[in-house]
C-alpha cells in the first residue's frame, strides 16, 4: 500500500463551526467518522482545516491564524451545506495527497516559528489567537518588563551589590512576546494568595468541542481563571441554508457527544454522535435508549461532573441527564453568566462547564457583555 494512502487513513480534521452552521458541522463529523478519519484535538494535530459556514471578518482572521498553525501537509476547505460535505472532503483529501502542491505550500511558508504567534502586535490581533500561550494579549504592555515581576517592587538601594540591580533590569521580550506579569499588578485576587503570574489566554473561537464562534477572554492566575469576558464572533451576513440542530432531539445528542468527548469518554461520545447522525438522517436509532441508560448509570462520570457549572436548575450532570431524557428546558444563558460560571475554574474544567451549557451562539448574537472587569 502506498504511504500516502496509508497516512490518509488517519487524517485528522479540525472543524470550525461558524454560528448557525451546526447542521453542516454535524454532517462533517459524520463523514469524517465514516471515512475512518478523526477529529483533531488541536491545530498541531490537524491535517485538514474545514470551516463550516461563512465566517465574519474577525472569525476569518482567527481561522487564518489557526491555519498558520497547522504543521503541514495541510489542506483547507470551506463548506456551507451538509450536502456538500462529501465532495469537499474528497477535494481536500486530494489536495492533501498532492505531493507537489504540499511541497509548494511548505516552501512558501515562513520559517518557524509560526508567523501568527509573533504578529500579535496590537490588542485586536491578540484576541484572535486561539490556543497558544504565545499569545498573551499585548495590550497589557505593563506586564512586559521585569519591573512588574515578583521582585519588581523591591528596593535594592541599600544592598551591597552595586553591579547588579535586578529590579530595574530591562527585560527583553523574546520573540516579541510579553512575559507573564506579577499578580499584584492586575489587582485580581489570587485564590492561593500567592500572587502568581497572570496570563491572558483567549479560549476559542477555534477550539474543539466549543460553542461556535465563542471567544472567551480569560485571565489566568496559576491554572485558575480569575476573570473572564465572553463574546461571540459573528458569521458573515448570509443565512445558513440548513436548519440548526439546536433544540431538536439531534441537538440534544450533539450536546451529549460534545460533553462526553471533553469528559474523555471516547466510546460513549462516538456512539452519542452516531445516534445524533441517525436522528438527523430521519431514523430512530434503537441503541439510543441503551446508550442513555449507560451514560446515566456511569458513576465515574457522575462523580467527575457533579457540582460543575451549578445553575439554579442543577449542575452539569443534571443537565446531561435532562438531555438524555429529553426533559431539559431551553433557557438562554447570558454571556455574562458564562463568564461568571467559569471564574474560579481551571482550563479543562472551564471547557467542560461551557460544553455543559450547550450554548446556541447563533441565537445569541447580542451585544458582547462584559464580565469580570
Amino acid at each position: 500500500m502506498d504511504l500516502n494512502r496509508l497516512a490518509a487513513r488517519r487524517t485528522a480534521v479540525l472543524a470550525v463551526e461558524v454560528p448557525g452552521w451546526s447542521r453542516t458541522r454535524c454532517a462533517l463529523e459524520e463523514h469524517v467518522r465514516d471515512r475512518g478519519w478523526r477529529l483533531a484535538g488541536s491545530p498541531a494535530d490537524a491535517d485538514l482545516l474545514v470551516v463550516c459556514g461563512r465566517p465574519g471578518a474577525r472569525l476569518t482572521a482567527a481561522v487564518d491564524h489557526v491555519w498558520s498553525q497547522l504543521p503541514g501537509p495541510r489542506a483547507r476547505a470551506e463548506v456551507t451545506t451538509a450536502a456538500d460535505v462529501p465532495a469537499t472532503l474528497d477535494r481536500a483529501a486530494a489536495e492533501l495527497a498532492d505531493g507537489a502542491a504540499q511541497r509548494r505550500d511548505a516552501a512558501d511558508r515562513p520559517a518557524d516559528p509560526d508567523p501568527g504567534t509573533t504578529a500579535t502586535g496590537d490588542g485586536d490581533m491578540g484576541d484572535m489567537d486561539d490556543m497558544d500561550m504565545d499569545d498573551h494579549d499585548m495590550d497589557d504592555s505593563g506586564d512586559m518588563d521585569m519591573g512588574d515581576m515578583d521582585h519588581g517592587d523591591m528596593d535594592h538601594g541599600d544592598m551591597d551589590h552595586g553591579d547588579m540591580d535586578h529590579g530595574d533590569m530591562d527585560m527583553p521580550m523574546p520573540a516579541g512576546i510579553g512575559l507573564a506579569g506579577g499578580g499584584d499588578d492586575d489587582q485580581l485576587p489570587d485564590p492561593d494568595a500567592l500572587d502568581l503570574d497572570v496570563l491572558h489566554v483567549p479560549l476559542g473561537p477555534v477550539l474543539p468541542h466549543w460553542p461556535a464562534g465563542l471567544l472567551l477572554h480569560t485571565t489566568l492566575q496559576g491554572e485558575l481563571v480569575v476573570s473572564a469576558r465572553a463574546e461571540v464572533l459573528l458569521p458573515a451576513e448570509d443565512a445558513p441554508p440548513d436548519a440548526p440542530v439546536h433544540g431538536t432531539p439531534a441537538g440534544r445528542w450533539d450536546a451529549v457527544a460534545t460533553l462526553l468527548a471533553l469528559a474523555g469518554w471516547d466510546d460513549a461520545a462516538t456512539r452519542a454522535a452516531r445516534v445524533r447522525d441517525a436522528l438527523l438522517a430521519g431514523g430512530q436509532p434503537p441503541e439510543a435508549e441503551r446508550l442513555a441508560r449507560r451514560i446515566t448509570r456511569s458513576r465515574l462520570l457522575r462523580w467527575s461532573l457533579s457540582g460543575l457549572g451549578r445553575l439554579p436548575e442543577g449542575d452539569a450532570h443534571d443537565r446531561l441527564r435532562h438531555w438524555l431524557e429529553g426533559t431539559e428546558q431551553r433557557r438562554s444563558t447570558e454571556l455574562t453568566a458564562v463568564a461568571e460560571l467559569v471564574t474560579g475554574l481551571d482550563l479543562a474544567t472551564a471547557r467542560l462547564v461551557v460544553a455543559s451549557l450547550d450554548l446556541d451562539t447563533a441565537d445569541r448574537v447580542t451585544v458582547p457583555a462584559e464580565a469580570g472587569s
Partner: protein, 100 residues
C-alpha cells in the same frame, strides 16, 4: 577511579554548591546550592565507604544524608512559601529583618 579522584569530584560539586548558596539572592536558588553541596557530600561518603570501610554502617550514614536533604527541602519550600505569601519577596536579602 580511585578514592582521590572521587573525592576531587565531590569537592568540586561541594564548592560549586557553596558558591551558589552564598551568591544567590533567591531562597530557592540558595536551596539549590545547598542541595548541590549535599550532592558532593553523598559522593564523598560513598567514596569513603567503598575505599575505606565497606560496612553496612556507612550505608546507613548515606541514608541519613539523603533524609537530611529531604528535610532541608521540605522546610526550605515551606519557608519560601511563607516568605512569598507574607511579603511578596523571595530574596534572602529581604528577610534580614528576621534576625533583628
Amino acid at each position: 577511579m580511585t578514592l582521590q579522584t572521587m573525592l576531587l569530584v565531590a569537592a568540586a560539586l561541594f564548592s560549586v554548591g557553596l558558591y551558589g548558596a552564598i551568591s544567590q539572592q533567591v531562597v530557592v536558588m540558595v536551596m539549590m546550592g545547598l542541595e548541590l553541596m549535599l550532592n558532593g557530600v553523598i559522593l564523598a561518603a560513598a567514596a569513603f565507604w567503598w575505599f575505606l570501610s565497606p560496612t553496612p554502617d556507612g550505608q546507613v550514614l548515606l541514608l541519613v544524608v539523603i533524609t537530611a536533604m529531604t528535610v532541608e527541602m521540605a522546610m526550605g519550600f515551606a519557608v519560601a512559601t511563607l516568605l512569598h505569601r507574607s511579603r511578596q519577596s523571595d530574596m534572602t536579602d529581604m528577610a534580614t529583618d528576621l534576625s533583628r
